[in-house]
């Protein structure tokens, strides 16, 4: 017989880092929180980072709330829910503490209004998801959209918003019981919502979108499309549509640079989401090997590597055609710029897939994908803002070939 005294941090790593669904928000929140400490001089950046990291942390808690609703036995274990939620509250305080620290370093009191607004958005996500787990993806994305809009469109939130937000936050906290009577209660759909959330990760696109048109894309890029699921063709179609729209708008307004920035952002987000989905589907390899089209495990791995190369060729073609078409109207980019941008995007996609081949652990994968994402965006943005020369082009060519080779080589680790 044993009587144990439980420390508050017991199981903290397992709950917040080893649960992949939660980790995707939690790791992002922690990383961006700490990054905000070193980017205090860039005003737009720090506003966005404070907003994003705070909301991400609330999303991680909302995720634990969904898990709680999906766990039938949790209400029988007295103190279990309180234990997990206490850890969540500690993280919220920590996240706010880091944000306040970065606000002090930045010496900008207006950022306190941003932080208080982020807390309001976050607490709404958390409280809604304590009872309505099916709303998780939509609530998160509406909130992220509001957060991005607020950071981009409003230069600085007014100081008077600080007390207003604090009063609002307190009111939500105090009166939420009036609206939601039985938070965290088990519901039969929660487990499905949890598993769906796990599979789609950060993907905001409804699974039925473009379902009629994606078949041939999925077929051509099999088995890569097999791992990612319906989102694969959806994102590719969305990116193509975006490029066409961008080129048309560019005929009337000079938006070439914006379009190319969003294109690279979209491409690398798509690759990150694809790799995220791939690591979720642990049993997929076993299913894939049973298909009669593959003779062996090696055969399937080679096929995957080929489909990644096909995707990179597609990315190269899309980037080149889009950049070229945008350049026809206003000639702001040289042919060297066009080619350099194309190679940087293609190489970046291949680098991310190579990382996906090597890392099996979701936390390492997330970390290295974040770093690759930053590197890729940084590189493409630099190339758009600076004129390229032949040396840059050759270097990028070597980089792309090296990434293609690395991608082929790293399939051994799959």
């Amino acid at each position: 017989m044993q009587i144990s005294k439980r420390p508050w941090y017991q199981g903290i790593v397992n709950f917040w880092l080893n649960d992949v669904g939660c980790a995707s928000y939690f790791v992002a929140a922690i990383l961006i929180s700490f990054l905000s400490l070193v980017t205090t001089s860039i005003e737009n950046m720090i506003t966005f980072m404070i907003m994003f990291s705070t909301i991400c942390m609330y999303c991680a808690i909302a995720w634990q709330s969904i898990k709680m609703q999906a766990t039938e036995w949790q209400f029988l274990v007295v103190g279990y829910r309180e234990h997990v939620m206490f850890q969540g509250k500690v993280f919220i305080i920590l996240s706010n503490f880091i944000s306040i620290l970065s606000i002090i370093i930045a010496d900008n009191i207006h950022l306190l209004a941003t932080l208080s607004l982020a807390n309001i958005i976050g607490i709404v996500i958390w409280f809604i998801n304590r009872s309505f787990s099916h709303l998780f993806t939509s609530v998160c994305y509406i909130s992220f959209f509001i957060a991005v809009l607020a950071s981009v469109l409003i230069e600085q939130l007014s100081i008077w918003l600080i007390p207003v937000n604090i009063v609002l936050l307190t009111a939500i906290y105090l009166f939420d019981n009036k609206f939601i009577t039985s938070p965290y209660s088990w519901s039969p759909r929660s487990l499905t919502n949890y598993l769906n959330g796990l599979q789609s990760g950060w993907s905001p696109v409804p699974s039925s979108l473009f379902s009629n048109y994606g078949g041939s894309i999925n077929k051509k890029l099999f088995p890569l499309s097999y791992f990612v699921g319906s989102g694969f063709s959806q994102y590719l179609i969305l990116i193509i549509l975006f490029c066409i729209t961008g080129v048309i708008i560019n005929l009337f307004y000079d938006v070439a640079e914006h379009v190319l920035f969003v294109l690279s952002l979209g491409l690398f987000t798509f690759v990150t989401l694809s790799l995220w989905s791939k690591i979720q589907k642990k049993n997929s390899w076993e299913l894939l090997f049973t298909l009669p089209i593959f003779n062996s495990r090696e055969n399937a791995k080679v096929a995957l590597s080929h489909s990644i190369l096909k995707l990179s060729l597609f990315v190269a073609a899309l980037c080149f055609v889009t950049t070229f078409a945008l350049n026809v109207t206003n000639h702001s980019l040289s042919i060297l710029n066009v080619l350099s941008y194309t190679l940087a995007c293609t190489g970046g996609v291949l680098l991310s897939f190579a990382i996906g081949n090597v890392f099996k652990n979701i936390n390492f994968l997330s970390l290295f994908l974040c770093l690759a994402f930053g590197l890729n965006i940084g590189l493409t943005t630099y190339l758009l803002e600076h004129s390229s020369n032949l040396t840059t082009l050759i270097t990028l060519g070597i980089y792309t070939v090296a990434m293609a080779t690395m991608n082929r080589f790293t399939t051994l680790y799959l």
Binding site: S4, N14, T71, E72, L76, V78, L191
Partner: protein, 278 residues
């Protein structure tokens, strides 16, 4: 008379305009091991979940350890063990970490019992729960539900994914637990041989109705299949569980001769189940 550990009184539940439970009356007394038998969709899981207050019945009252099922006190929650059909909850944990955390919520946790079962069922406590097979997850869930020796144990198809040896061993442990701790156990299963091996009582549920509830031996002794030529045969002295053109399943037969019958046969639990749903 002792207070039942779990008592269902006239329970009705409807879902999507379909009657899931209809007039269920059932008591689980200390020392009882009740095997709940029924087809898929018969209402077994709903019945078990409603005992824990996870589902609220439309009508009737469920009392668990003397309290209403949806208003259980912390003290009584610690005396209930539950294994759901789909084991879920400690994703991201290693077995040792999950057990350590789970154990910390139960002051009466029997660590020797936990170790004994981990060893017996060859669970390596360094393994990650995400990497366990369904059967191993189910074993772990059973250990978590039984190691604090609950007074009432509710198990929803607890051994469906276990191999026959593990199933037998767990079933015998269940029986021992009920005897030693005067616990009551209500478990659902499709595996009639398991139920026959350990259950003291059988509850047979069909389309939300409790068709039969009694001691296993009584059911064995008094349920018969009567074959006849004329459908006008008088079976009014018995409870008819199912009637076909030339046969009927009756309950309450005490060995007397039934006039007009061609044969009166005993049935195994599996035969009874098949006949009732055939």
């Amino acid at each position: 008379m002792t207070q039942p550990l779990l008592s269902y009184k006239n329970i009705y539940k409807q879902y999507n305009q379909r009657q899931i439970l209809s007039g269920i009356n059932l008591n689980v007394e200390p020392g009882m091991v009740i095997g709940l038998l029924g087809k898929n969709g018969a209402g077994k899981t709903t019945l078990l979940r409603s005992a824990l207050g996870l589902i609220k019945p439309d009508q009737g009252e469920i009392r668990v350890l003397g309290e209403l099922s949806h208003q259980l006190s912390a003290r009584n929650k610690e005396r209930i063990g539950y294994v759901a059909q789909q084991t879920f909850g400690y994703e991201g944990f290693k077995i040792a970490d999950a057990l350590a955390l789970h154990r910390s919520f139960y002051p009466n946790w029997d660590i020797q019992l936990e170790k004994k079962w981990l060893k017996r069922f060859e669970l390596n406590d360094h393994n990650a729960i995400n990497d366990l097979s369904i059967g191993q997850r189910q074993t772990l869930a059973l250990i978590m539900a039984m190691a604090y020796r609950p007074k009432l144990l509710i198990l929803d198809e607890p051994v469906a994914s276990l191999d026959p040896i593990a199933r037998r061993e767990f079933m015998s442990d269940l029986f021992e637990l009920a005897l030693e701790s005067e616990s009551g156990i209500l478990f659902s299963s499709h595996i009639t041989s398991d139920i026959e091996r350990v259950a003291s009582h059988i509850a047979l549920i069909k389309q939300g109705e409790l068709l039969l509830f009694n001691e296993l031996d009584v059911i064995r002794d008094t349920v018969r299949k009567v074959s006849f030529k004329e459908p006008t045969i008088d079976l009014s002295a018995y409870k008819i569980l199912n009637q076909q053109l030339n046969s009927a399943i009756i309950y309450g037969h005490m060995g007397e001769i039934i006039s007009g019958s061609l044969a009166v046969n005993t049935l195994s639990l599996e035969q009874l189940f098949v006949e009732l749903h055939g």
